[in-house]
Symmetry: C2
Subunit: 388 residues, 2 copies
Amino acid sequence: MGKVLLAGVGATPIGEHWEKSLRDLMVDASLNALRDAGVEKKNVDAIFVGNMSSGYLQGQEHLGSLLATWLGIPGVAAHKVEAACASGGAAVHDAFMAVKSGLYDCVLAVGVEKMTDASTDQLTSALIMADDQEYTAFAGFSFVALNALVYRAYMDKYGAKQEDIALFAVHDHEHAVHNPLAQYRRAVTLDAVLSSPLVADPLHLLECAPTGDGAAALLLCSEEKAKELGLKPEVEVAASALATDVLSLHDRDDLTTLNATLRAAERAYKIARVEPKNVDVAEVHDAFTVLGVIHLEDLGFAKKGEGWKLVKEGEIEAGGKIPVNMMGGLKARGHPVGATGVYEVYDAALQLLGRAGKNQVEGAEVALAQNVGGVGGTVAVTILRRVR
Amino acid sequence: MGKVLLAGVGATPIGEHWEKSLRDLMVDASLNALRDAGVEKKNVDAIFVGNMSSGYLQGQEHLGSLLATWLGIPGVAAHKVEAACASGGAAVHDAFMAVKSGLYDCVLAVGVEKMTDASTDQLTSALIMADDQEYTAFAGFSFVALNALVYRAYMDKYGAKQEDIALFAVHDHEHAVHNPLAQYRRAVTLDAVLSSPLVADPLHLLECAPTGDGAAALLLCSEEKAKELGLKPEVEVAASALATDVLSLHDRDDLTTLNATLRAAERAYKIARVEPKNVDVAEVHDAFTVLGVIHLEDLGFAKKGEGWKLVKEGEIEAGGKIPVNMMGGLKARGHPVGATGVYEVYDAALQLLGRAGKNQVEGAEVALAQNVGGVGGTVAVTILRRVR
């Protein structure tokens, strides 16, 4: 089986897009990816759209046909993929599978979410659908509250301090300053983070990823198709893996590790034939500061219970042990939930393409993107590599 | 690339399952498929769940992880697939792709929908999400109204009479009598159909598929895995194809043919290397009587404008030119929207397995199932064949 090549990437800025509809966002991102690849849309033969809440928030399902229609390529195979906040990563996985299967040669993986039109109540309802409605939501938990439990459990178990964990948000904001697509292009101090309002104790507002509107797209091609089109993509999708865990925290033995990350990472490393030490730059799903820290451990970049040390000691910066979320991460680039997994791969790809500007990690050859659905009910891991 | 084998099938009865939740239904169907295959659940490595409206109707997304959890196999790759009423067929397509890709060996394709807890208003809102919310729904169309337009256009263009088209419902009900899983196990007369209340002129109530609760599941295996497990499946998934068309009727040149059916069927016939004349029995997506007739034409079983003649002349019965919807079709077996595409493949498989009881088409070797999303925005076509 030949390589799955990343022929082009595209995205919209993340923010409050009052002037753009859900369809506008996904069409914009897709056209950007096609333009980036230099591929005419007529070559696309399948589209997978990652999205979580378009039915509930926009009253719009059937996004596959909708996007194919508005891209002007009705006829292609297309459907929506949903795995809560891992919908984007799951769409990337479908696109990877599609090319690997030999059934498709030129596939768009798109992620889109439009959240800022909704009220806070609507968003709270939409997001808790990522967990078990009949057990967790009926018991009164919000999605933030579940992550606050994880935060407490982590600090208790490993003796980590909030001021160390909260540094993850400071790191993200610092880098978002130089990302033209980021939702919050401003630095924040640790003091600002820790004095921001409590959302769910111990989570402060500035430790939580914001809601936003945005779409991102990737164009994946088979080697044969790339050759036929005269493309020479510099990056391949070396692996895409998807794994689940029990949906809810109340069924887990340990709140401080995500089994789905362990499983998806193990598979992805195996498929790509790399180890954590080979990864030059990573995008991790820091929906909440503590999750960013936990992911560093689960992905094999730090020992269990010591992820926060990497952050504190500057090891997640360029030149450090494992540069992470160099474009601002969920916290500052933004987190339009169903789109996030695709933005992460987009940001990882920029590093390998040498297009990350002031956030560039020099000489990056292997990049990893990790996308989490719910509180780890699903995790998608994508590994990109420069084509040798 | 080896064959994709259908190792087992399972389903729940369709009806008003007040006593069962969405999760119960999909777990029941999945366990039935595993039991049917004689495969232990630990062998499953991926699950694709077709569902349209769980977010809007149950406040529950993230069905992939939910099902993996409640099946007791957290860890597997899993996500939800949505393509309106073609969600089930799209999930089958993902499962087919997954095995073809070589990434997975033993995959569950599951379809589930629970509709009867909702009010008529909620269902009307949920179903129109299959079309373009900002154009079609905002203009006041219900999903039934769109299909009524197709009905008028078909009768006008081809001079077909409603009493001939409505016979499709009579046919479906006749066969549902002998289907233990069917929602309406009773025959209806043509007179009863035509004197039932008008829902959207000219569509009478008994020309429209009902709403219902249900789940169906298929277990797909690679040849290698089947061998490893000592299985000898009698049926293979010879092809699965997915195609789109412009989402809405207002963008189409012709309301009386579904381009997505033409495209998906062409691809599926090509992959399976069969022609319409080789198909021994078919399941078509008769959400409304007129659609059943149109599908007969678009799938190549009748000339354009003459599908109704097949129905009138008894050619869709056992022994006829192309036996269709032998287990009751959407009209009488039932139409839990996101599950329907999987039920269709289930019903087609029963024929090849010789398990269709009084509805059996003797000696059937090749079966086709067609699943439509929206008014043809997406169509999935699956072709099954007895393993030679």
